[in-house]
């Protein structure tokens, strides 16, 4: 941990004017078979910004993230309470089907996981195909633009029909990002997307996230505090409570969380006093 970040700033920061809201979380809690895994999550995800979820293991970061595109639906005994509102619609109770929601809120996983039996091209357009788009010109166009957005086009354009498993780990993860972007989602959820990658590949993904901000809102779970500090605009700090359930301790701009947090536990964590 760098000392510079740790020194509390004394200057008074004028509150930033909040931009338009993409997703609102109101008292979100997730439980499995009646045991609460994470609770009390209330914060707004602002449009076209990167919001990071940080906290030690067991603090419920990933559990919270997976609630945002209803991935807990298939887990027996899982229950999500509170409200998650995407552009005015409650994603659990509102007038939005789960498949529709997932095309608007995409996800990138911890492990680069392109579909192993599909080519690079087929992976890139798989989301469109799942949603019934068959027209070749549309698919071609989407494949190119999503691979370009993921900074992958130049290295793969000549071998689109090659199996995705031939790519390096970093390239595979960018293909997964391209796959999600092809659906032109409003939100991209990323669950520790660089934890399986080497530093160079990590850096490229981080650059990519910053460049994607203009067109998609990113929510990223990371265990790497430097990464959160480098790339995110807003930051939610979660911690495991007495009863082993994660809870939101503090949400603010990343700058505030790292330099001048309200809660002493946030400071302790960002200083690396526990983890």
């Amino acid at each position: 941990m760098t000392e510079i970040q740790a020194v509390p700033t004394t200057q008074v920061v004028t509150p930033r004017v909040r931009g338009p809201i993409e997703m609102q979380l109101k008292n979100v809690a997730v439980s499995f078979h009646g045991r609460t895994a994470v609770r009390d999550c209330t914060f707004d995800v602002e449009k076209n910004r990167v919001t990071s979820l940080i906290g030690p293991s067991g603090s419920g970061k990933t559990t919270l993230l997976r609630a945002l595109n209803r991935l807990h639906d298939l887990t027996p005994g899982a229950k999500v309470s509170g409200q998650i509102i995407l552009e005015g619609t409650d994603i659990y109770r509102g007038n939005l089907t789960v498949t529709e929601l997932r095309t608007r809120v995409g996800m990138v996983f911890q492990r680069p996981n392109p579909f192993p039996t599909m080519s690079i091209y087929d992976n890139a357009v798989s989301g469109l195909r799942f949603n019934g788009i068959k027209k070749k010109s549309l698919l071609d166009e989407a494949a190119e633009s999503s691979l370009r957005s993921a900074a992958l086009w130049d290295s793969v354009s000549s071998r689109l029909k090659v199996a995705a498993s031939n790519l390096s780990g970093g390239e595979q993860q960018r293909l997964c990002i391209a796959r999600a972007l092809a659906l032109e989602p409003e939100v991209l959820l990323m669950d520790e997307p660089t934890s399986a990658l080497d530093p160079v590949a990590t850096l490229r993904i981080e650059e990519l996230m910053t460049s994607l901000k203009s067109r998609v809102t990113v929510v990223i779970v990371t265990h790497n505090m430097q990464q959160a500090a480098r790339i995110s605009d807003d930051c939610a700090f979660l911690l495991m409570g007495e009863d082993r359930a994660g809870e939101l301790i503090e949400f603010d701009t990343t700058e505030k969380i790292f330099n001048n947090p309200v809660d002493s536990r946030t400071l302790d964590y960002t200083l690396g006093r526990f983890g």
Partner: protein, 324 residues
């Protein structure tokens, strides 16, 4: 590490043990070596003696065995064509039945049956494999055969092309190649389900979630991600089930009718290689034994081949998943 452990590691005996020549062989390793040599000798002797006893047939009547379907006891000729075709017919139809029902069962067990019933259903299906095949044979003969004779066969005979496929002679048999296929299909179902369920269940969770996160329905996830990823292993399961079907003896002997007929019609009685060997062996001698041994060689090669293919496929699937 505690100091004692370090001391043991450093002790001379262990260091000396790293050089094989220095270790005196203990008596039990000698026993193990003898057992292994014995086993190898028995295997070679077994296969060798089967080939040896079948040799006269291969030398003198090899062509007849493979091309003729006339089997005349006790002097010959001994044509094995109808057993060979019977084996393939019954096994392949059985396989179609087992793969269709089995794939549905495996997918249901993994994806649709509530978790708490999953183990129960899977265990029940796999317990079917523990039932002795003679019981299947009796069940086919006593329960299914009369029903086939009275209800199913007359109904099948009404279809167009029934004569070419089923053989509509006006006479209805209870025992038939079709009945043998059905009983075989049920018998190999547990084998197929046990392996295919495993192959499907180990498709990584995050691949499935990735497809759902792209707006796939559960069914699209299964069809376009899970099954293609598991494909090679599913073929492995298919070949293993086929190997079981071709080698099955008692049940087929009971329900196929044990008739060496030169026909392919499914509603006629017929036989398979394994069933024919079992039913004929007791009353045969001399050249007929040699001919049965030759059939045994064919069956053995077929089964070994299928088992090898199956193993190669399953290990390839493991490699695929290791890369995923």
């Amino acid at each position: 590490m505690d100091p004692v452990a370090v001391d043991i590691l450093k002790s001379e005996e262990v260091v000396a043990g790293n050089t094989p020549a220095a270790t005196p062989r203990s008596w039990y390793s000698n026993v193990l070596v003898v057992a292994a040599v014995l086993f190898a000798a028995v295997s070679v002797g077994f296969v060798g003696s089967i080939f040896w006893s079948s040799l006269p047939t291969w030398v003198h009547h090899g062509g007849t065995l493979l091309t003729s379907s006339a089997w005349v006891s006790p002097a010959g000729p001994f044509g094995g064509l109808s057993m060979i075709t019977g084996t393939f017919e019954t096994s392949i139809i059985a396989l179609v039945i087992a793969v269709i029902i089995g794939l549905g069962t495996s997918i249901s067990i993994v994806f649709f049956i509530p978790r708490r019933f999953r183990t129960v259903v899977a265990t029940l299906v796999e317990l079917l494999a523990a039932i002795p095949s003679v019981v299947y044979g009796l069940w086919g003969l006593l329960v299914i055969a009369p029903w086939m004779e009275v209800t199913v066969n007359p109904w099948l005979n009404k279809w167009p092309f029934a004569k070419t496929i089923f053989g509509n002679s006006g006479q209805e048999f209870g025992t038939s190649l079709l009945l043998a296929s059905i009983v075989l299909g049920i018998m190999i179902l547990p084998t197929f389900v046990a392996i295919s369920r495993e192959v499907i269940a180990v498709v990584p969770q995050d691949l499935q979630e990735a497809s759902l996160s792209l707006g796939a329905t559960r069914w699209q996830m299964i069809r376009e991600v899970v099954l293609p990823t598991a494909k090679i292993g599913l073929f492995g399961a298919t070949f293993l089930a086929l190997a079981r079907a071709t080698g099955e003896t008692v049940a087929v002997a009971l329900v196929a009718g044990s008739v060496a007929n030169a026909q392919f019609h499914l509603l006629y009685p017929g036989t398979s290689i394994a069933a024919w060997i079992a039913t004929e062996f007791g009353e045969s001698q001399g050249t007929e034994i040699s001919a049965l041994m030759a059939l045994g060689v064919i069956l053995m090669l077929l089964n070994v081949g299928l088992a090898l293919i199956s193993r190669a496929l399953v290990s390839r699937q493991r490699k695929v998943l290791a890369r995923v």
